[in-house]
C-alpha cells in the first residue's frame, strides 16, 4: 500500500491548491493549500475575519480566486464548474434564500431545478422536513423569510443534502441551532461520512470541532497555520489552547473591567 501522500488527486474529496483572494490591498486568503481526504470530516477553524468563508466561497464556485485552484473529486471547480458542482452540497453562511417560499416549496424548487425525479424530490423533502422538525412550520405555511436563524440553517442543510452529493461544504452549520436539533444534525452528518461522503465545516466553536471532526485546519490572517489529523493539530493539549497559542489571545487583567459585578 502506498502512503497517503502518494494517493493520486482523485483520492481527495476537496483540494485547495495555492488558493489566493485579494480584495484591493488586503489579502483575504493567502496561498492556502488544503487536502480533504474522501470520507473525512474536516473542520476549518479560525477567528472572525480569518478568511474561512472567503476560502470556502472559492472552493464551491461562488467567488473567483485571484490565483490557485479548487478541485472537487479531481475536477477543477473553475475550469469545469458544471461537473464539479454535481458532487457538491453547499450551505453558505448568512446568504438569502428565495424568502417567500415555504420550506417544502423551497426543497421542491431546488430538487426540480437540479433535475431530480419529481417523486424522489417529494419523498426526500418530506423526510428531511420531518427529521429536521420543520414540519410544524410547513403545516402553518410559514415562509423561509419568517424562519428563525436556526430554522434557516436547517432548511439550508436540507437543500445541501437533497440531491445526495458526495462532498458537503457547510459554513457554520451549527450556528444558532438548538441542542436537540444539533444532535439530529450530528447524526445526519455522521451517517453521511460513514457512507463514504466527505464533509468540510467551518466553525469557531472548538469543542464542537473536537467532538465531530477527524481532521482540522487552523486558519488565521488568510493562512493555514496548522493542519492534519485532530491529534496532530492538538499536539497533546486541547484544541482551544492550541488555537489560542497559534492565533494569539487577549488576556483580561484583574483590574480591567472591574466595574462588572460591582
Amino acid at each position: 500500500m502506498s502512503d497517503e501522500q502518494n494517493i493520486p488527486r482523485p483520492g481527495f474529496a476537496l483540494e485547495l491548491v495555492d488558493l489566493r483572494r485579494e480584495f484591493g490591498e488586503k489579502v483575504a486568503v493567502d496561498d492556502v493549500n488544503l487536502r480533504v481526504p474522501r470520507g473525512s470530516f474536516y473542520g476549518l477553524v479560525g477567528p472572525n475575519g480569518a478568511g474561512k468563508t472567503t476560502a470556502l466561497s472559492m472552493a464551491v464556485g461562488l467567488l473567483r480566486p485571484t490565483s490557485g485552484h479548487a478541485v472537487v473529486e479531481g475536477i477543477d471547480v473553475w475550469s469545469d464548474p458544471v461537473a464539479a458542482k454535481r458532487s457538491l452540497g453547499v450551505l453558505p453562511d448568512g446568504l438569502a434564500l428565495p424568502e417567500r417560499l415555504t420550506g417544502g416549496e423551497l426543497l421542491t424548487y431546488w430538487g426540480r431545478f437540479r433535475r431530480m425525479d419529481a417523486a424522489a424530490v417529494a419523498s426526500r423533502s418530506a423526510e428531511l422536513i420531518r427529521i429536521l422538525e420543520l414540519d410544524e412550520a410547513e403545516q402553518l405555511g410559514t415562509l423561509v423569510g419568517e424562519y428563525s436563524t436556526g430554522m434557516r440553517k436547517k432548511i439550508g442543510l436540507a437543500t445541501a443534502l437533497l440531491h445526495a452529493p458526495s462532498v458537503l461544504v457547510l459554513d457554520e452549520p451549527y450556528e444558532a441551532v438548538d441542542p436537540v436539533s444539533a444532535r439530529v444534525l450530528t447524526r445526519i452528518l455522521r451517517r453521511f461520512t460513514e457512507t463514504g461522503g466527505s464533509i468540510v465545516i467551518s466553525s469557531h466553536v472548538m469543542s464542537l470541532v473536537e467532538q465531530l471532526c477527524d481532521r482540522v485546519a487552523i486558519v488565521a490572517d488568510g493562512r493555514v497555520v496548522a493542519d492534519g489529523t485532530l491529534d496532530e493539530v492538538r499536539a497533546g493539549v486541547s484544541l482551544e489552547d492550541r488555537f489560542v497559542g497559534l492565533v494569539g489571545g487577549t488576556e483580561v487583567d484583574e483590574e480591567e473591567l472591574s466595574w462588572i459585578g460591582s
Binding site: 483572494r21 480584495f23 464551491v60 464556485g61 461562488l62 467567488l63 473567483r64 485571484t66 464548474p81 458544471v82 458542482k85 454535481r86 457538491l88 453547499v90 453558505p92 446568504l95 438569502a96 434564500l97 428565495p98 424568502e99 417567500r100 417560499l101 415555504t102 417544502g104 416549496e105 426543497l107 421542491t108 424548487y109 431546488w110 430538487g111 426540480r112 431545478f113 437540479r114 433535475r115 419529481a118 417523486a119 424530490v121 417529494a122 419523498s123 423533502s125 418530506a126 410547513e138 403545516q139 402553518l140 405555511g141 410559514t142 415562509l143 423569510g145 419568517e146 437543500t159
Partner: protein
C-alpha cells in the same frame, strides 16, 4: 422622553437622502402657497368656502397617504424600543407627539390657517375662531396620518400598505408620462374652480361633513350670528381629536404579541410539495413556479406589479377625463405591458444574495431554464392585469376599432419587455438591500437609471415590426390586414422574447458567479479584459452602483466631520 424621541427622529431624518427632502420642502411650500392663493383669488364667499373645504380635505388625505412615501411618520417604529425599560403608554404618546414636530407638519398647520382669509372677508369678528380651528384640524390631520400608518404597519408589511404605495407610484409614473395632459387639464379647470366653486350637490354635502371643513363652517355660522353652532362645531372637532389621540396612542403602544408568530395559516401548496402541481416537474417548471410565488408573495415585487397596474389605470383615467385624448385610454393595457419591462429590469438584484443557488446549482441547462422561466413567470403575473385593463378601458371608450392594434401590440410588448428585462437583470444586476433587511419601498433596487433607458430602447427596437404593421393597417384599413397585424404581433413577441432571452443566456453562461459577486461584494473579480456592448453596459451600471455607494459614504463622512468640528 418626548424631547428625546423628537431629537432621535431628527437625527434619523438627517441621515436620509437630502435631495428627496429638499423636493419635499419645495412641493410642500408650493401647496401651502396654492391653498392661500386659492382662498385669496376666489370670486365670492360661497366659492371660497367650497374651494377651501376641498383643499383642506386634500391636505388631510395627503397627510394620511403621504408617510408611505416620505418616511417622516415611519422614522420611529414602536419595535425599536421594545427592549427598553420604559413605560409603554409613555412611549406610545411620545411616538405620536414626535409626529407633530417636523416641516411637513408645519406646512399642514400653515395651510389650515388659510381659513383666516375666509374669516376676514365674511366677517372679521370670526377671526378669533381661526387659530383654534386650524390647530384642531392640524391635530386631526396629523393624528389620522399617524393612525393610518400605524394600522398599515410599516407600508411594506401589509397588503393594504403595498397597495397604497402602488397607487402612489402609479400616479407618479402616470404624471411623468402624461404630465402634459394633467397640466393642461389643471390649467383649464382650476381657474373655473376658483371662479365658480364646486357644483352644488352630493360632493359639497360630503365635503361639508368632513371634519376638516368644520372650522370653515364654524366661521360661516358665526358670520350669520349663530355663535352657538360655531362653538359646537369646534367642540365636536375637539372631541373627535381626543378620541383619535387615545386610539392612536393605543395603536402605537408596543405590545408583546406583535413579536409572536404572525402566521397561523395552513399548508401553502400541498400538491406541489407532494410531487404534483400545475406546472411540469422540470427545471423550467421549477423556475416558473418559484418566480411566480416570489412575484405574488414578496412585498417589493408586488409593489412593482401594483405600481405598473396603477400606472395603466391612472393614465387611462387621465385620458378618459381629458375628453380630447379619451381615445388613448383604450391603450391603457399596453402601459401595463410596458411597465412589466420596467418592473422586471433587475430580477437578480431583487433576489439579492439568494442568487448563490443559481451559481451552486449550475448545470448544462440551468441558465437557460432560469432565464426563460423568469420570463414566463413575469408574463404570467402581468398578463391578466393587462388584459383586464384593456377590456375595461375599451368598453369605457367604446373605441372598438383599436382592438386589432391592441391585440398585436400586447404580445409584442410582453415578448420584447420580458426579454429586455432579463438582459438588464443579467448585465446590470443592482443589489439594493439584501432581502431580509429590506424595510422601505425603494430598498429592493440600487441605482437602476441606466437599466431604465436600456430597457426602453430594447423594447422600442423589439416591437418595431409590429409597430410598422400597425401603422400600415391604420393608414390602409382592411380586415385582412387586421388579421395579419395580430399575427405579426404574436410572432414578433415570441421571437423578441426568445432572441433577447438568448442574449441574456449567452451573457450569463460564464458569468453567473460574477452576478453573485456583484451582489455580495459590489464588484466583479475577473482577470480577462471585456469587450462588446453588453460588457460596456455592465461596466456602466456597475460604475453607477459604486458611485452611488461612494456618494452615500462621502455624505456620511462629511456629516461626521461636520459634527466633530461643531
Amino acid at each position: 422622553m418626548d424631547r428625546l424621541l423628537i431629537s432621535l427622529k431628527f437625527t434619523l431624518l438627517r441621515n436620509s437622502s437630502k435631495g428627496l427632502r429638499v423636493v419635499g420642502w419645495v412641493v410642500g411650500a408650493a401647496l401651502v402657497a396654492g391653498t392661500w392663493a386659492a382662498a385669496a383669488l376666489a370670486t365670492n364667499d360661497q366659492v371660497r368656502g367650497s374651494v377651501l373645504t376641498l383643499a383642506f380635505a386634500g391636505w388631510v388625505v395627503g397627510a394620511a397617504l403621504g408617510p408611505v412615501l416620505m418616511s417622516g411618520s415611519g422614522t420611529l417604529r414602536p419595535d425599536y424600543f421594545a427592549l427598553l425599560p420604559i413605560d409603554r403608554r409613555a412611549l406610545g404618546r411620545g411616538l405620536l407627539v414626535s409626529t407633530f414636530v417636523g416641516i411637513g407638519s408645519g406646512y399642514v398647520v400653515v395651510a389650515f390657517l388659510a381659513a383666516a382669509v375666509h374669516a376676514a372677508l365674511v366677517d372679521p369678528a370670526t377671526l378669533v375662531l381661526v387659530v383654534p380651528g386650524a390647530l384642531l384640524t392640524w391635530v386631526f390631520a396629523i393624528t389620522v396620518s399617524r393612525l393610518v400608518y400605524g394600522l398599515l404597519g410599516a407600508a411594506m408589511r401589509s397588503k393594504v400598505g403595498v397597495e397604497i404605495a402602488g397607487i402612489q407610484f402609479g400616479l407618479m409614473f402616470a404624471a411623468i408620462f402624461t404630465g402634459w395632459m394633467v397640466v393642461q387639464a389643471a390649467i383649464e379647470s382650476i381657474p373655473a374652480l376658483v371662479r365658480d366653486g364646486l357644483p352644488e350637490g352630493p360632493i359639497t354635502a360630503v365635503l361639508d361633513g368632513f371634519p376638516s371643513s368644520w372650522p370653515l363652517l364654524a366661521v360661516e355660522a358665526a358670520a350669520t350670528g349663530d355663535w352657538a353652532a360655531a362653538l359646537g362645531l369646534l367642540a365636536a372637532l375637539a372631541g373627535l381629536d381626543a378620541v383619535l389621540v387615545v386610539a392612536t396612542v393605543a395603536v402605537l403602544t408596543p405590545r408583546q404579541e406583535v413579536t409572536a408568530r404572525r402566521r397561523t395559516g395552513r399548508r401553502l401548496s400541498p400538491r406541489l410539495v407532494d410531487g404534483g402541481g400545475i406546472l411540469p416537474a422540470t427545471q423550467l417548471g421549477a423556475v416558473i413556479g418559484k418566480e411566480y410565488r416570489q412575484w405574488t408573495r414578496d412585498p417589493w415585487r408586488s409593489l412593482e406589479v401594483r405600481s405598473g397596474v396603477w400606472t395603466g389605470i391612472a393614465i387611462g383615467f387621465f385620458a378618459l377625463v381629458s375628453g380630447e385624448y379619451a381615445v388613448l385610454a383604450a391603450f391603457s393595457g399596453l402601459i401595463v405591458a410596458f411597465m412589466m419591462g420596467v418592473a422586471a429590469l433587475n430580477l437578480y438584484g431583487q433576489d439579492g444574495s439568494a442568487v448563490w443557488q443559481s451559481v451552486v446549482g449550475q448545470d448544462a441547462t440551468s441558465i437557460r431554464s432560469d432565464v426563460y422561466g423568469r420570463q414566463w413567470a413575469t408574463v404570467l403575473v402581468f398578463l391578466p392585469h393587462a388584459l383586464l385593463i384593456t377590456v375595461v378601458f375599451i368598453l369605457l371608450t367604446q373605441e372598438f376599432w383599436v382592438v386589432p392594434a391592441v391585440l398585436a401590440a400586447l404580445p409584442a410588448l410582453f415578448g420584447a419587455g420580458s426579454g429586455a428585462a432579463l438582459i438588464t437583470s443579467a448585465v446590470g444586476v443592482s443589489p439594493g438591500v439584501d432581502p431580509r433587511r429590506r424595510v422601505g419601498p425603494n430598498d429592493a433596487n440600487g441605482n437602476v437609471s441606466v437599466h431604465l433607458w436600456v430597457v426602453m430602447a430594447l423594447i422600442a427596437i423589439g416591437v418595431l415590426p409590429t409597430a410598422a404593421v400597425i401603422l400600415w393597417s391604420l393608414l390602409v384599413p382592411s380586415t385582412a390586414l387586421s388579421i395579419v397585424t395580430v399575427l405579426v404581433g404574436l410572432v414578433n413577441g415570441w421571437a423578441a422574447a426568445w432572441l433577447f432571452g438568448r442574449i441574456a443566456i449567452g451573457y450569463l453562461q460564464n458569468r453567473m458567479p460574477d452576478v453573485f459577486t456583484r451582489i455580495r461584494y459590489g464588484k466583479v473579480f475577473r482577470a480577462e479584459a471585456s469587450s462588446g456592448v453588453l460588457d460596456w453596459v455592465a461596466a456602466l451600471t456597475l460604475r453607477g452602483e459604486q458611485e452611488m455607494v461612494a456618494k452615500k459614504q462621502k455624505e456620511r463622512q462629511d456629516k461626521i466631520a461636520a459634527r466633530s468640528r461643531a
